[in-house]
Symmetry: C2
Subunit: 250 residues, 2 copies
DNA sequence: TCCGGGTTTCCGTTGAATGGAAGGCAAGTA
DNA sequence: TACTTGCCTTCCATTCAACGGAAACCCGGA
């Protein structure tokens, strides 16, 4: 019942995560749960192909070849590219950290982030996953995603800060409001001193493909203005996606 | 002498390129040079793991999992992220299409691109490779790259437009000037009606890690202004890279 | 010098990858 | 309706490459 060669090699790649961008051979073997000798051989092949690169220190990192491939992923790459100018506009208009996220299973995956020139303490690296129930973009993705996912998330509300919503009923109530209002907010539910607003981003067919959010230290009476700015940006992204959708596929 | 399982699976992934972002099973098998039955199994595994996704049409595209991994590639992803705000500034200052490229073998790989809101005819998709000798960023990468690469490129100057430089001596002369001046230009050498200016982007250690360029319809007396703007951006990127280099590795 | 951590090589065993062949399926054609 | 064509999928007997324990190796530190 042991896994196939290919999937084992892939699991080696899966050992990388936002907090572990470089790993030693033994780390990789440990994380992928295989003998070092085996990992050594597989890593060798991955390296030879360019999926992994080796630092001077001997540690391995994701190689250029995979980065290239990532660029070829039609959905995310297209989305990122379409969204890029609008993220900038949004930053210009609000001077807040801007996030673009999609749903990945029961978590929110951050696919782009713009914090401008100011070096903000990194809350969310690109490529990282954050819980749905404690972030603005997460709540949006939850509200417009499959019910099954919502159910699953409701069953597992882990506490992050003192303000994190951990009662299913309360979260459900909020999700309903998100659906009604078309935007979500958080208040220090993920990290103290950080509030957020987020809106859905729709694809050409009207389906929600991503969430666009901004993080601000405090959600004063600005809320209406921020929501308006977010909506303009989200609509712009949708328009770009629609335009390119017709031209895209040959 | 047949290749290992892993490398065959990887070759399947390598079948994708900027012009073929979606492929059928048979396409993949053909391009990777293996029997369909074998490709079927391997593709199945890649799909199961999330390296490939399947469209409604039955075609396969690069899956989310690989996109994620791409985000984790320290060099390119870090570079892209560091460069992002400066690309926007540059666009704001020049309203020209902005390119960020790195060297990949003997070609220039475009890792980011910003054409603002205007829907410009796509010259260069992100992830595509363009020849060194006919692009601004290419000439920069050539000028600051290994001599061996330069020699190789000089030996194979394919014509693209009527203005493409195809005489090794002339290109070499230009490369020398790039090294002296610190910037490169092109005039309709890659596509008619498009001129470009590019400068090197240096890493923390002073080594050239990428090239930053802009494309304009015409290179009038603006050149000095454009070069200045490019340099400001390139230096900004370097500074960001330097700042994060210290914090980056834990 | 010896130790402990990693890495690399070796090689006999074995079980998983292989791919030809045949069966499906859907669209286009007579 | 029957025939063709071009896909995708399943099957399974053969075989050959993956496996991983063991031992050597390398290197920095005590």
């Amino acid at each position: 019942m042991s896994a196939s060669v290919t999937s084992r090699a892939l699991n080696l790649l899966g050992a990388f995560d936002p907090d572990h961008r470089s790993l030693t051979l033994s780390d990789l073997a440990r994380r992928a749960g295989m003998p070092i000798a085996t990992a050594h051989r597989l890593v060798g092949e991955l390296h030879r192909w360019g999926a992994l690169a080796r630092l001077d220190s001997g540690e391995y990192v994701i190689g250029r070849r995979l980065w290239d491939l990532g660029l070829l992923a039609p959905v995310q790459a297209g989305l990122r590219q379409a969204a890029s100018p609008f993220l900038h506009d949004l930053y210009g208009a609000t001077l807040a950290t801007v996030h673009l996220a999609v749903r990945d299973g029961t978590e929110a995956l951050y696919i782009d982030r713009l914090s401008g020139h100011v070096s903000v303490p990194v809350v969310s690296k690109i490529g990282s996953r954050l819980p749905m129930h404690a972030t603005g973009v997460g709540k949006v993705l939850l509200a417009y995603g499959p019910d099954q996912v919502l159910a699953e998330v409701l069953g597992n509300l882990t506490r992050v800060t003192a303000y994190t919503i951990t009662q299913p009923a309360r979260l459900l109530e909020q999700i309903r409001r998100v659906r009604a209002d078309g935007y979500a907010t958080t208040g220090e539910e993920m990290s103290l001193g950080a509030c957020s607003v987020a809106v859905p981003v729709r694809g050409p067919g009207g389906e929600v493909v991503a969430a666009l959010g901004i993080v601000v230290p405090e959600l004063r009476r600005d809320k209406a203005r921020l929501v308006a700015a977010l909506r303009v940006a989200a609509q712009g992204i949708t328009r770009t996606l629609t335009d390119s959708a017709s031209a895209q596929w040959k």
